[in-house]
């Protein structure tokens, strides 16, 4: 999303997203959502939707600062491809909203955090009118620290929590320890913060925890984010044809693989298999439930799930998957891809742009392209929508009113849409210090790559945006891919809701992810999965089904 030519790779936003996805890929079937015990006055399990949600949700006020070059369609991001003219940048925040409080924010960080008193943080703080102090933690091991921090009495003013870190009792901690932002944002109150008012309602809906609006969301496109990438340069050179079915993929993979030359067709393709076979979303547990013929089914119970695993297992047993992918923890699939050791891998859509810029200097011939997700039988795929927001910033319940208002002032700056000064400041830093604009392409310099990373973008963001003035054809390809895939995307029964399962079920589905990996790598059999599903049913899965059924009766389905 942010044109920069750091040798170390992608800009913070895309890097963040890619790491996020890598983590999701690791934590896939893990408890992305869970519940809690205890008896507080707050509602601790279930969800809030319909009329109850309407009372809480902020009013949406569109912020038409810049018209996107590619409008959102089928759930895609907004696309921006034209050149950037600094003089045309709009101002979306007039004056300072902040009142000068000091705000401590704990947030996951991927990479090395810059020093606290750097020009970027200073410029942001000046713009906001508050003194934001970052307590950054390694994003890859964030879940190991999060639990302890939330359990301590010395919690920072703001804690950023990605959805994939909301396992176990974290949702219960969010409900009991985080402030209700409703009094500041519900209904028309949000109009004090015009950029927050322009955040899509879907993203706000996901920010309701325990019946109260507690999160400041980072909106995302609900279209599948895992793209099967291939090396276009090598495909063109060798004359490989893109596969249009699962069988064709396997045949092509066998043709490509030449272990002797250290070339394998692909990395782990499990996530693409799930998409290709139409398996219900595994990104969050509630998304895995769907009403089929009057009965709720969970993703692991479906035939598609087993078929997808069986096909992935075939890839492994045919020896077309890189051995380091089989060893799982060994290195980064992206590196094997750019090194040409694998020609196909799947990863977050942000890699499209990130890998292109990363390789531009090192390997001039390198071309990455995303193939459409093929239906396993050669027909159209059935894809399931993901969450329209999965990273949230929460404010400590103990924070004073002044601090909460200053946090919102900060979020109002970071949520500024593309085409504004605030967006450029948040995402690129200070012109001249952190980036330069040449021929309408903003490029971050070394200082920009070092300092303008992760931090402020975690607070709240504008509607999902893909903006690459440096590589307009990539931005076009990304948005077009989302729109094509979006056309095949359906919403499962609990799409868009933030649901907290009862405490006794939170760890029920934890082991499926591990079992999937065991099966595709040939260490366990499909029948082991069937046994695990039977156990899951008897150990609470069926009761959980009843619980979701009741929830559906109460809240109504996203399918309409």
């Amino acid at each position: 999303m942010t044109p920069n030519t750091s040798a170390s790779g992608p800009g913070r936003r895309s890097f963040l997203a890619s790491t996020a996805v890598a983590t999701v890929a690791v934590a896939g079937g893990m408890p992305l959502l869970a519940a809690c015990g205890g008896s507080d006055s707050d509602k601790k399990e279930g969800t809030t939707s319909g009329k109850d949600a309407k009372k809480i949700l902020p009013t949406f006020v569109a912020q038409n600062v810049v018209t996107p070059d590619i409008a959102s369609k089928n759930g895609s991001s907004l696309g921006f491809t034209s050149k950037l003219v600094t003089a045309d940048l709009k101002t979306s925040v007039s004056g300072k909203l902040g009142k000068g409080s000091t705000i401590k924010i704990m947030s996951p960080f991927w990479g090395s955090p810059p020093k606290g008193d750097n020009p970027y943080y200073k410029a942001m703080n000046d713009k906001i009118g508050a003194n934001v102090v970052w307590q950054n933690q390694d994003g890859n091991t964030y879940d190991e620290k999060l639990g302890a921090v939330l359990a301590s009495s010395d919690m920072p003013d703001v804690v950023v929590i990605p959805g994939w870190n909301m396992g176990g009792k974290i949702p219960s901690a969010i409900i009991s320890k985080m402030a209700d932002l409703g009094p500041y944002l519900s209904g028309d109150k949000v109009k004090d913060y015009p950029n927050l008012a322009a955040v899509p309602t879907d993203a706000w809906q996901r920010s309701i925890f325990g019946g109260k609006l507690r999160g400041l969301p980072m909106p995302s496109s609900y279209v599948a984010n895992i793209v099967p990438y291939y090396r276009k340069d090598i495909f063109d050179d060798k004359g490989y044809e893109l596969p249009t079915s699962a069988a064709e993929f396997l045949a092509l993979a066998k043709e490509i693989t030449s272990a002797r030359a250290k070339v394998w067709a692909c990395d782990d393709m499990k996530w693409t298999a799930f998409n290709s076979f139409g398996v219900l979303s595994g990104s969050e547990k509630p998304l895995g439930w769907n009403l089929v013929g009057g009965k709720l089914v969970y993703r692991v119970e479906t035939d598609e799930y087993l078929e997808a695993l069986e096909w992935t297992r075939k890839l492994y047993s045919a020896g077309v998957v890189h051995p380091d992918a089989k060893a799982q923890n060994q290195g980064d699939s992206g590196l094997r891809f750019t090194a040409g050791e694998v020609l196909i891998y799947n990863n977050d859509i942000s890699h499209w742009w990130a890998k292109t810029t990363e390789q531009a200097a090192q390997n001039k011939d390198f071309r990455i392209d995303g193939m459409d997700i093929f239906g396993h039988d050669g027909g159209d795929p059935t894809l399931w929508a993901g969450a329209p927001a999965s990273i949230f910033a929460f404010v400590n319940k103990k924070a004073s009113k002044a601090v909460i208002q200053d946090v919102l002032a900060a979020a109002n700056v970071t949520a500024a849409p593309y085409g504004t000064e605030e967006y450029m400041l948040t995402n690129y830093g200070v012109e001249g210090t952190h980036y330069t604009v040449k021929d309408g392409t903003p490029t971050k310099n070394d200082k920009g790559n070092l300092e303008v990373l992760n931090a402020f973008v975690m607070l709240a963001s504008p509607a999902s945006t893909i903006a690459h003035p440096d590589l307009p054809e990539i931005a076009k390809a990304q948005v077009a891919w989302q729109q094509r895939m979006g056309a095949f995307t359906k919403k499962s029964s609990f799409y868009g809701l933030q649901i907290i399962e009862p405490a006794r079920y939170t760890n029920l589905s934890n082991d499926f992810e591990q079992l999937e990996d065991d099966i595709v790598r040939g260490r366990k059999k499909i029948s082991d999965m069937q046994q695990a599903v039977a156990d899951w049913k008897s150990q609470g899965g069926d009761k959980l089904r009843d619980w979701y059924g009741k929830l559906l009766d109460d809240s109504g389905s996203a399918q309409g």
Binding site: H322, P323, D324
Partner: protein, 332 residues
């Protein structure tokens, strides 16, 4: 206290006074005044042990609760607000086949390490000890110690690059028209792999203690036995090994006490390569359930079981050491 017998030079009166002072003569106050320097010196260590070892032991009560760290403002106070569930966590634990897999893996790995790893430093120490030239000795020692300072991430990456499916050996084989192989993702040999990595990394480091013990053997003994016509092997059997025996026994007892700790980081890093069926050990099981799944009480119960079993093992090993006529770790 190492109160050696008084010098022969001291008078009877002094002897009596000393005897009185040492054996409960004098009140606590007197004794305290006499030993206060020593007490003062141990105080920091005692405090450390108290704060970081003993007080946290109390936290084990969560194993008998359904602990929720978020029911109150801080995780410690939350212990008092979490509901008691008796032995429920333990019955859940014992019903979990994954737990028994972890126990089995741990024990098998311990056995392998004991047989294949434990003797290696002893052999290496004997080898180094037989090197006479100081330069060669210093260099070979340095080379042996070095891997100890590599992190596990590095060690495992090196192993992957050499023995992995796309590693040097497999690729060389393939280039010459043979089949490649992949040692790193084979659950069947995983435990041997882990032991081999351990030997490579830490065997050299383990040599230090044995070398120190060897250095204390009087050269007179070797000379005497050589005079009596003992050859190289006889000297090793009758002089060197008996000298090492107390150290070996001590380390063996310590190792057995630690039997259920077979490596955490090393195994966690490779757990996904072969799956938990082959790689889950008690420590990773506790980590997975406690830290990743936030099932604190359950993980605490697993940890407690591990602690109790370890205690039993160390007591048993110590007893066996005594039966063998060795000091062991402690004596009553």
């Amino acid at each position: 206290m190492a109160a050696a017998s008084p010098d022969p030079g001291v008078t009877r009166a002094e002897k009596r006074a000393l005897h009185k002072a040492l054996n409960g003569g004098g009140s606590f106050k007197v004794r305290f005044r006499r030993d206060r320097t020593l007490v003062l010196m141990t105080l920091p260590a005692v405090l450390l042990v108290l704060v970081f070892n003993y007080i946290p032991i109390l936290g084990n009560v969560v194993a008998f609760q359904e602990y929720d760290p978020y029911v109150s403002d801080n995780g410690f106070v939350a212990i008092f607000h979490s509901p008691w569930v008796g032995f429920e966590q333990f019955s859940r634990l014992f019903d979990d086949s994954a737990f028994w897999d972890a126990v089995q893996n741990t024990l098998v790995l311990f056995g392998l390490q004991l047989v294949l790893f434990f003797p290696v430093p002893i052999l290496l120490a004997l080898l180094i000890n037989s090197v006479i030239r100081p330069r060669v000795r210093a260099v070979s020692q340095a080379i042996l110690y070095l891997p100890h300072f590599f992190s596990w991430v590095l060690v495992i990456t090196v192993f992957q690059q050499i023995f992995g499916g796309a590693g040097i050996i497999a690729q060389t084989l393939r280039r010459h028209g043979h089949e490649g192989f992949d040692l790193m993702t084979d659950p069947g040999i995983f435990k041997f792999l882990v032991t081999a990595e351990g030997v490579w990394k830490d065997a050299g480091w383990g040599v230090i203690v044995f070398l120190a013990a060897l250095a204390s053997v009087s050269p007179d003994l070797y000379e005497a036995s050589a005079m009596d016509g003992a050859g190289r092997w006889r000297r090793m059997w009758h002089v060197t090994l008996p000298a090492l025996r107390p150290v070996i026994a001590l380390l063996l007892v310590l190792r057995v006490g630690d039997a259920l700790t077979v490596g955490f980081e090393q195994i966690l890093l490779q757990r996904d390569a072969v799956g938990p069926g082959a790689a889950e050990v008690l420590d990773t099981y506790v980590w997975w359930n406690g830290v990743r799944n936030q099932d604190f009480s359950y993980a605490a119960a697993a940890g407690l079981v591990k602690g109790v079993v370890s205690l039993g093992l160390v007591l048993a090993a110590n007893k066996i050491a005594h039966l063998m006529g060795e000091q062991g770790v402690y004596k009553k």
